[in-house]
Structures are given as C-alpha cells and as structure tokens.
C-alpha cells in the first residue's frame, strides 16, 4: 500500500500547482482591494459589497441562474428519452447512436456556436428556407431562444451520456422481478428504472448546470452584446476593465453558488436512490 502512495505524489504536486494555487490566488484577489502588489496587501470586503449592493449585477445573476436552470431542465426532458431509447437498443446499434451523440463534441465548441450564428441569422439558412415558401423572416439570433438553444445543443451530450451509462449499468433482473410481481411497464419504469437512473441524472445536472451558468461566449455570440450574463461580467472585469479583484470576487461568489447547488443535488441523490432500492 505504501509504495502506491508515493506514486500519487506527482499527482498531488500537479493538483497543488494547477488547481489549488490558482484557486487561492482568486480568493486572495477577491478579498483585497485594487492596486495591490506583493509588498502591500490590504484586505477588504468592498468587492463583495459592491457586487451585492448593485441592482444590475443582482438581476444579471438572477438571469444567469434562470437560463442555466431552463437549459438543464430542457436537457433532462430531451436527454432522458433519448438515452432511454438508445439504452434499449441492440449492442451494435447502441454504439452507433452513442457515436452520433458524441460526434459533435469532437469539434470545437466555439466553431459549432459560430455555425449556429449562421443558421439562426436574419439572412441565415432557416430564414432563407422560410423565404422560399414565402414566410418569415423570423428574428431568432440575439434572443433568449437562441441562447438557450445554443446551450442545450452544446451541453446535452453530457446529460445523455450520463443517463445512458446509468441505464445500461442497471441490472435487468430487477425489471424481470417487477413484472413477475405484477407491475406493468409504466409501473416498473416509474418504480425501478427511474429511481435507479437518478444518479445519472444528477451527475448530468452537474455537468450541464456548471458550464451553463458560467458560459460567456454562447450568450455573446448568439445573444448579442446586449445579452449580458454573469460570465460576461466576469470576462469584462478581467479583460476590459482590468479589475481583477472585483472579477475574482464575482468568480468566488459563483463558485460558492455552484458548490452549494452540488451539495443540494448530492443530497437529493442519496435520498431517492435509497428509496428506489427499497421500492425495488
């Protein structure tokens, strides 16, 4: 056992340098005020006060959380049936469909989002087709619809894969037992399959909600400059205003919100799964 522990050493060094150190820097920046150099550090809570006391930032935060929740909900509603259907196909066909689902993720997300710009634009593909049958044009770009669409499109593979994995891992004999005991298909789905696949849904939620709440280029490209989410505010603070302290403070607030939501989902995960096993 001991010799294995020393083998983990490089990994610990890596973690310390690449994950812990930057996080500590963000915390340090967040709790200090502007114009610090290494010699003089002045701690302050001003950055947080500025963020929470500002009506505009609060509404941006609300909008970001709202968009992320909507995106996650749509990903579950569309992703679950897709994962369910794929999981119940033959081995060969499963591989093919999963390949199709993951195929787009081989291409850079930015490039795919640019492609959506071309599709949704006023003179884009959809409106061009509509004009051929004498309809439109419909404004789609620079709307909430476009932003949510872009996010769902980019993040739904994570949801499908997570649910698919938990569904395929499921022991099929539970279903046989359920039907032996007289459950019909709907009952056995609701009382066996669904509870057992909740862990997949939960990790899918984490994988979709996290990037959705902090994404800044999808709202920028598909929502236009007027569509400001919290990620865009952080980006502006770092790149345009150069106020790293305030930017770090907002990042830290987001990190705490995300940690808290992960804690909540984790809690939700342990409860129904246990119930599910009892029911089964």
């Amino acid at each position: 056992m001991k010799q294995y522990r020393t083998m983990a050493l490089p990994y610990i060094v890596w973690m310390a340098g690449m994950i812990v150190a930057p996080m500590l820097l963000i915390v340090l920046y967040a709790f200090t005020d502007k114009g610090n150099d290494v010699a003089t550090i002045r701690f302050s809570l001003e950055n947080f006060a500025r963020f929470f006391s500002d009506q505009v930032f609060m509404s941006v935060l609300k909008r970001s959380l709202f968009i992320a929740v909507i995106t996650t909900a749509i990903c579950i509603l569309c992703g679950y049936p897709i994962a369910y259907v794929i999981a119940n196909r033959s081995e060969k066909s499963k591989l093919f469909w999963i390949l199709l689902i993951t195929l787009p993720t081989w291409i850079n997300m930015l490039v795919r989002t640019y492609a959506w710009m071309g599709i949704l634009q006023d003179e884009g593909i959809i409106n061009h087709l509509l004009s051929l049958v004498g309809l439109g044009p419909i404004t789609m770009i620079h709307t909430s619809f476009a932003v949510v669409l872009g996010m769902v499109y980019n993040f739904i593979p994570f949801m499908i894969l997570q649910i698919y994995t938990s569904l395929t891992k499921m022991d099929k004999s539970y279903l046989e037992a359920a039907s032996d005991l007289g459950a019909n298909r709907i009952q056995s789905f609701l009382r066996v399959t669904l509870p057992l696949s909740i862990p997949g849904v939960i990790s899918g939620i984490t994988l979709v909600f996290l990037p959705a709440v902090s994404s800044f280029f999808i709202p920028k490209l598909l929502g236009g400059g007027q569509y400001v989410l919290i990620g865009n505010v952080i980006e502006t603070e770092f790149l345009t205003s150069g106020d790293w302290n305030f930017g770090s403070a907002i990042s830290l607030v987001m990190a705490i919100i995300i940690l808290f939501s992960m804690y909540l989902t984790k809690k939700a995960d342990t409860d129904p799964a246990a119930n599910g096993k009892e029911n089964a």
Binding site: D54, V56, F57, S59, V60, D122, E123, H142, G224, G225, Q226, V228, N232, V233, T236, E237, F238, L239, T240, S241, G242, D243
Partner: protein
C-alpha cells in the same frame, strides 16, 4: 494514396530546403529570421505578409487580438512580440509604463511618406516610439432610403435617441466608443473626468438602451449593414468605407458635435526579440505598394500620403466614398487620452447599461 503522401512530403522538404538558405542570410543580418507580429484580425493587406517574407527571406508569425486590453493583458503576462499595432491611448499607456523601445528612425527612412493627418500625433509627436498604420474617425452610417438625411444632419448622435428609428440601429459594443458618442451628443469632451458629465452620459446611454432596442455588435456590423439589416450604425470610418463600397444605399456622416480622431500605430515592445527586423517591417509597411495593398484590402485610411491621395483622388478606388478620407483639423474632434481609472469606470458603466433591461 501513398504516392500522394510521398509527393506532399517531398514538396514540403523541398520548400523547407528553399526557405532554409534564405533564412540563414536573414538570420545573419537580423539575428533571427522570424518576426512575431501581434495585430488586429483582418487588418493587413492580402499580399503584404507573403511579399515581405519573400523580399526579406524571413518568416512572419502573426497573432491576433480583438481589443487593446486583450493585447495589453498578454503583453503584461510576458509574451514577446516584435511588432504590435495598438491604438492611440494604449500606446500612451505603454509609453508611460516603459513597455516600448525607442525607434531608430534612421532605419525607417520611409517615415517621410507619412500622411499629414498622422504627423505629430499628441501621444507621440516625434514618432519616438510609434509609426502610424491606419487612422480615421468614428461616424454614422445610415440607409438614405429609410432615414431622412436632414434628420441625421440636424440630430447628430441624438439620432440614436429618435424613437422613429427604434429597433433599427447597431451600436458598437465598446465602452470607449459608446461613451464618446454620448459625451459628444451632450456637448462634452470625450476625455472628461467630471463625475456629473459621465453620469449624464450614462443616463443618455440608458435611455438609448431602454427606448431604442439597439443591437450591440462588433465586426458583425459590417456584414449587417452591407446586407441592409438595420438602417443606422455608429462605426469606424474604415468599416464605413467597406460598407459604402458594398451597398450604395448607405451614406456616411460625421456629426458636427465632433468625433474620435483615432490612429493605430506600429510599436516595438521592450522585450522584442528581433527589433532590427521589426524596424525593417515598419519601414516596409510605409512603402507605397504595401500601404496600398493594406488600404485596398482592409478599407481603412492609409498612413501614406501618396496612397491616401491616390485612393481618394478622381481615379482612385475610393473616389466616391465619403468615409475613406478622415476629417482633420476640426476643433471638436478629439484624440483619446489614456486614463486607466476613467476607462475602468466606463467599462463597468457600459456593462451595466447593456445589462439593464
């Protein structure tokens, strides 16, 4: 298939072989045969780089930035480039922070080609650190079929508050340009430091945001206006040149309240690895042919007087284009000054304008 790969490999070897001999000459002369150029996207003539590489037997590595601030952040992080092309106020900041090398003008004889409009610019009057690349104004492009030219002339920037044109405008998504327009509309200097004037400008922008439903864009504005998606846009004169050249329904207007007289110039950062070649490149850009290529491809106003005259002259490609030749010597036009504190404040106010609806 195998044959094809062999052929490709052979060509590659051949090419690198050719390059090799030229490289060694250039390397001897300049210390290294590579020039690292950090430039705006789509901001160079289509043949300029390859011509320069061929003529001097060197290799140019070009990277792109999309804001002065992004460039500054990378430079601060220690990235080394030989030539940068930032804007006026950013050059002022780089000079004040000792991040630039002084230029040896004896190695840049073509400096005598500089256009009158870019001589003795306030941030670097003697070209100690910088040599202008492109320059221009910021003005209003409008569709003269849908917008009454009389309205444009009468209202100037306040056209952007005229609810007759609600939902028909593009505004450039940058705090400097939007506050410039608001401050000028209110009759103030765009370099103001007065809290109350900035507050008024902020409210002007809020009113625009709330009542006019503007689309905030950056480079998309060019295609958008060429396709006639909207009727009004506040744009850089160089982009206006391109728009006017492609869509004859569009006109260009410089408001009487004044505007931003801007310039982007070539500078050599203090940590440049190949300053000799950097001087050679700066000198090359000022030649007639290179500058013509630049201005023809990009549409921005040349910093070479001869090219400027030729292109805007009767037989020039921009003869009928009212956006190409920048307005100079107009008292209300100003050059941006560097003021990091003000800039930061405006950046934050601007994101609040955009977020408030």
């Amino acid at each position: 298939m195998k044959k094809l790969i062999a052929l490709a490999l052979g060509t590659a070897v051949l090419l690198s072989g050719c390059g090799g001999s030229a490289d060694s000459d250039a390397a001897e002369k300049y210390g290294s045969a590579t020039l690292k150029l950090y430039n705006w996207g789509e901001y160079v003539g289509e043949n300029l780089i390859s011509d320069f590489e061929q003529e001097f037997g060197v290799k140019v590595i070009m990277e792109y930035f999309d804001s002065n601030e992004m460039m500054y952040t990378k430079l601060q992080a220690g990235d080394a480039y030989d030539v940068l092309i930032p804007s006026d106020y950013m050059i002022e900041r780089l000079i004040s922070e000792d991040m630039l090398q002084t230029l040896d003008l004896s190695n840049i004889p073509n400096i005598s080609n500089l256009a009158e409009g870019v001589k003795q610019l306030p941030y670097d009057p003697d070209n100690t650190y910088s040599v202008p690349y492109f320059w221009g104004n910021v003005g209003i492009v409008y569709n003269h079929n849908n917008v009454d030219p009389a309205d444009v002339e009468k209202q100037g920037y306040n056209l952007l508050l005229d609810t007759d044109y609600k939902g028909k405008l593009y505004v450039y998504d940058s705090e400097r340009d939007s506050f410039m327009m608001a401050l000028k509309a209110l009759g103030y200097s765009m370099n103001t430091q007065s809290e109350s004037e900035i507050e008024e400008a902020y409210n002007w922008l809020l009113q625009m945001n709330d009542t006019m439903d503007p689309a905030y864009v950056t480079d998309e504005v060019i295609d958008g206006m060429i396709n006639g998606n909207k009727d009004i846009a506040v744009v850089y004169s160089g982009d206006a040149t391109t728009i006017l050249a492609e869509n004859e329904d569009m006109s260009f207007f410089l408001p009487a309240e004044g505007t931003n007289l801007w310039s982007d110039a070539m500078v050599v950062p203090a940590n440049a690895e190949n300053p000799l070649l950097a001087h050679e490149f700066i000198n090359y850009v000022l030649t007639h042919d290179a500058s013509y290529d630049n201005s023809e491809t990009v549409g921005y106003s040349s910093s070479n007087q001869e090219v400027l005259d030729e292109m805007s002259g009767a037989d020039g490609i921009y003869a009928q284009n009212e956006a190409y030749l920048p307005r100079t010597e107009y008292a209300k036009d100003e050059v941006f000054e560097d003021n990091p504190v003000l800039k930061q404040k405006l950046a934050e106010l601007w994101i609040k304008v955009k977020a408030s609806h």
